[in-house]
Symmetry: D2
Subunit: 87 residues, 4 copies
């Protein structure tokens, strides 16, 4: 993976810690909206991690794809990713 | 929290396990798109958990808000949540 | 519809004008990314209009639903809308 | 623009017609949720048009970018688009 491993790792480990926190909030029967708000923050964090990965992928794997055939393959992969993101 | 605790817990614990899996994929320097695809699946799972929480909240806290003032407060909370979701 | 008609109308008429503009950009064979950027701005505008409508609906139809049965119906409608928004 | 002009045009003209329909629904003071549902369908249509444009752009402009510098520029443009889509 081409993205900044440290940065992505930090996002993911923070998100994992937040999920543990949400599980604790559920145990404490905290208010629905407080839990939903935390969950949406965690979703936002994972989206950031995903953006880092896709941006680095575009700037390396897609940009440096050696030959036509390899580049076409990479382009098609990204077309599928973009389609999913745009839903 | 009014949602089905077991169901939401299952989503969250699965998502947490997936994040561990993604961290492992990064260690193994797996391909960017494979990691991104897994991350988007995890985001989808957390969205499902959030939907369960919001639906149960609407069907209990908002529906059963005892008096006018309490109901207005709950409605305003949901207007903010809807605004965030619709971005 | 409970939302501020003037405000929602303005959003919608602006969006319609933008679509005309995009069709003209296509005729002029303008660059893909310029057209996509304009299209995403129009999507953003329609999302704003939708938010206005849903917020006003929550603050009137849902808040003032006269009896239990009517309120339940309104709540279920919003649960479906929230589910779609959260995809 | 590299996308299938006919196809994108059809999406855009349909969306424009739907906006006219929504304006009429507002005049007839139709129910909020009915208007919102139609609006979300129109947003979905514009997203489809955008996907067509981005997919064709990736498969032509990005794929065939002649030299390193030109390709880098195209990649950076797409990184920005992907970031916006992923919000």
């Amino acid at each position: 993976m081409k993205a900044d491993h440290k940065k992505v790792e930090r996002y993911l480990k923070t998100a994992r810690g937040q999920i543990d926190g949400i599980l604790k909030m559920m145990e404490d029967d905290r208010y629905c909206i407080d839990i939903s708000t935390q969950l949406m923050a965690t979703i936002g964090l994972l989206k950031k991690a995903n953006n880092e990965i896709l941006a680095a992928h575009m700037r390396s794997c897609v940009l440096e794809a050696v030959d036509e055939e390899n580049r076409e393959e990479k382009i098609e992969e990204m077309v599928k990713v973009i389609d999913k993101l745009a839903q």
